[in-house]
């Protein structure tokens, strides 16, 4: 089904462009306003720590509910039924790790980046280098997923003839995200995320209500129709359609599950959000709000995904995008009255504009996280050994943001066949393998050492990225990045099952192997600061 060829293509395109331009204009206005209030490093990196728990909860939700959640999960459920639902559950449960173990101590003991916490007790130059590198790698994986989502949307709206347009849109997305970050800093980015969270929840709620209304508010009826229309029958509602084929695919499911639940608390763009509130208590409140908002959203993905299966049908979805990334906008068109109808065109336009807003807000958060880590960790504290002023550090962060924007534009142009949710799951696996072990050990294990941190970060990073390179995601599969080549020695699409335990193991072994004496005084300082908030910035 080629939507661009259908009758209403012209009007919905104009409407989308109008809505999207309004969003960009408003958010850029906010960004300029926020930029005027951004004076020092605390403003630029942490929004002046002036946000309330509720505001930050909304912003966290806006940062977290990405194209992967909105487009990817809806598509995964629409195509694979129940198996797609695992993403929603893992992405939500993961917040408890952040709530119970990470958010408050991080807020109490750090200033701008994850490495700030590690630098309290470990040798700061090697540790900041490692943490900076892993932050940038995780963020680029995540950025890639968002760009794939953007590409899928453009292809849907403009049709196959829109290859040139697809590139231009990706360039535009990259450009706007760089503007948000360089002009507005964290304050501007936070407000963009808040606006986007409200729009996304409203849009999803609207579609959910329309879908449930079609099935008399009966979940069982909706599921029945989805199963019938999927062509898979009852199997559509049971586990195993995507991951149940054989022993390897089942292991892949476990691997994915592990990466999802342990990844969130190691994601750099999530971690830096905890610095935008004044106290650890406010950080806790913001995570609780985020759990409520994100949980409500993921519950609605049931209606989006099964609704798309029931009302659009898997054939039409795969014809539009083979990984299902366009299921949500297609569903919007269907509940609005179908292709060619005015209602359908309006809803398609609204939901597509919301999806673009989603992508923009998330890429801005990712760009900020990675450029902050580059400027604060790698540049100011490692390369310049702490001899920089704040002005130079912020300027470096802005230049880094431009470079990262360029990288993600280039990647987005090349990768477009993968499912956005599966791609983001890779970012989760890298975060859970490289960042989470070191963060937890630093906060809670007295005998942890610099060598443990370096083994864990580099070991987790290299193993997870290498396993992805040699997995069916990159080669040997028709949907792979390089379908023509074949070097898929590692059978699992997600590396978490191997690389996460490895990251934890290496942190422990490295500490045991480190002959440098543990300095108990430094751990005492970190522990007291992280639990009491004494001396918190």
């Amino acid at each position: 089904m080629n939507l661009a060829a259908s009758g209403g293509a012209g009007e919905h395109r104009t409407l989308i462009i109008t809505l999207f331009s309004v969003f960009v204009a408003i958010t850029l206005g906010i960004t300029v306003w926020a930029g005027r209030q951004t004076k020092d490093a605390t403003d630029f990196y942490a929004g002046g720590r002036s946000f309330s728990g509720f505001q930050n909860g909304l912003a966290i939700s806006g940062d977290y509910m990405s194209a992967a959640s909105f487009l990817g999960i809806a598509g995964a459920i629409a195509l694979y039924g129940y198996d797609g639902f695992l993403y929603s559950i893992g992405f939500l449960v993961a917040w408890l790790v952040a709530l119970l173990l990470v958010a408050e101590p991080l807020r109490n003991s750090g200033r701008f980046t994850m490495a700030d916490v590690l630098a309290h007790r470990l040798r700061q130059r090697p540790v900041r280098t490692a943490a900076g590198v892993s932050t940038i790698v995780v963020s680029i994986f995540y950025l890639l997923a968002q760009m794939v989502g953007a590409g899928a949307l453009v292809a849907l709206l403009l049709g196959a003839s829109g290859e040139g347009a697809r590139r231009w849109i990706i360039v535009l997305v990259g450009l706007v995200m760089v503007l948000y970050v360089t002009i507005g800093g964290m304050k501007g980015t936070t407000w963009v995320q808040i606006v986007k969270a409200v729009l996304l929840i409203a849009g999803t709620l609207l579609i959910t209500v329309l879908v449930l209304n079609k099935f008399d508010w009966n979940l069982s009826t909706l599921l029945g129709h989805a199963a019938d229309k999927s062509g898979k029958g009852k199997a559509f509602l049971q586990p195993g359609l995507q991951y149940g084929k054989n022993g390897t695919s089942k292991l892949n499911f476990v691997s994915l599950g592990l990466a999802l639940v342990l990844g969130t608390a190691g994601l750099p763009h999530v971690l830096i959000r905890f610095y935008t509130v004044p106290t650890a208590k406010a950080a806790r409140t913001s995570v609780n709000w985020a759990i409520g908002i994100i949980g409500a959203f993921y519950l609605m993905t049931i209606a989006l995904g099964f609704g798309a299966a029931a009302l659009v049908g898997s054939k039409a979805i795969t014809a539009s995008n083979e990984s299902g990334n366009t299921a949500a906008p297609l569903l919007a068109e269907a509940v609005g009255g179908g292709a060619g109808s005015t209602g359908g065109a309006i809803l398609l336009a609204v939901i597509s504009a919301v999806a673009f807003a989603t992508i923009l807000a998330v890429v801005a958060g990712l760009t900020l996280a990675s450029s902050a880590s580059f400027a604060h960790d790698l540049w100011a504290n490692v390369l310049r050994k702490g001899r920089t002023g704040e002005k130079e550090e912020i300027l470096t962060a802005k230049i880094a943001a431009i470079a990262i924007g360029g990288i993600s534009i280039a990647l987005g142009i090349f990768a477009h066949k993968l499912n956005a949710a599966a791609l983001v799951a890779l970012a989760f696996a890298v975060a859970a393998s490289a960042n989470l072990p070191t963060l937890l050990y630093s906060l809670f294990w007295k005998r942890f050492t610099t060598r443990g941190a370096l083994w864990s970060i580099y070991g987790g990073l290299v193993s997870s990225v290498a396993l992805v390179i040699f997995s069916p995601v990159v080669s040997g599969d028709p949907k792979a990045l390089f379908p023509g080549m074949k070097f898929d020695f590692f059978p699992l699409g997600n590396p978490g099952l191997v690389s996460i335990p490895l990251g934890f193991l290496l942190g422990w072994l490295g500490s045991l192997a480190d002959r440098a004496a543990v300095e108990p005084g430094k751990y005492a300082e970190l522990e007291v600061r992280s639990l009491t908030g004494y001396g918190a910035h």
Binding site: L96, K234, P520, T532, G533
Partner: protein
């Protein structure tokens, strides 16, 4: 914001000249060892801090182990107990969907429970220690 602070995270903070406690005067004799870490060790080894640590860890560690185990059980059941998970309970709603929704419910409940625990057991202890440390500066 003091730009010097961005320079070295490990330098002892908040040691304004002229503010001297007995400990710090003693430390001044051995300038190579910063005064603050000793104070942190003193607090960290105290009974009050042990209570605070226990209030956090005795909740956070077992609950984390429990919800991760419960989540992994759900993943493993989906994988290896397809028959059980496919049992239909009401109409097209099967065990797998109900357990998935139960994951949402337990997540909400644990978040609420932790907020309550932290407000009564953790925050007052943390605030008391922090206030005393700030007063002792």
């Amino acid at each position: 914001m003091d730009p010097e602070e961005a320079v070295d995270r490990n330098s002892p903070p908040e040691t304004a000249p002229g503010q001297t406690t007995p400990e710090q005067t003693a430390e001044a004799v051995r300038p190579s060892i910063p005064a603050q870490p000793d104070r942190f060790t003193e607090v960290q080894t105290g009974a009050e801090f042990a209570q605070l640590r226990r209030a956090h860890r005795s909740f956070a560690f077992p609950v984390t182990a429990a919800f991760i185990a419960w989540y992994l059980l759900y993943v493993l059941l989906s994988n290896y107990a397809g028959g059980f998970m496919s049992t239909e309970l009401v109409g097209n709603i099967n065990v797998a969907l109900v357990l998935g929704l139960a994951q949402f419910l337990t997540t909400f409940l644990i978040a609420w429970w932790y907020a309550r625990h932290a407000a009564t057991q953790i925050d007052p202890r943390a605030e008391a220690i922090r206030a005393r440390m700030e007063a002792g500066e």
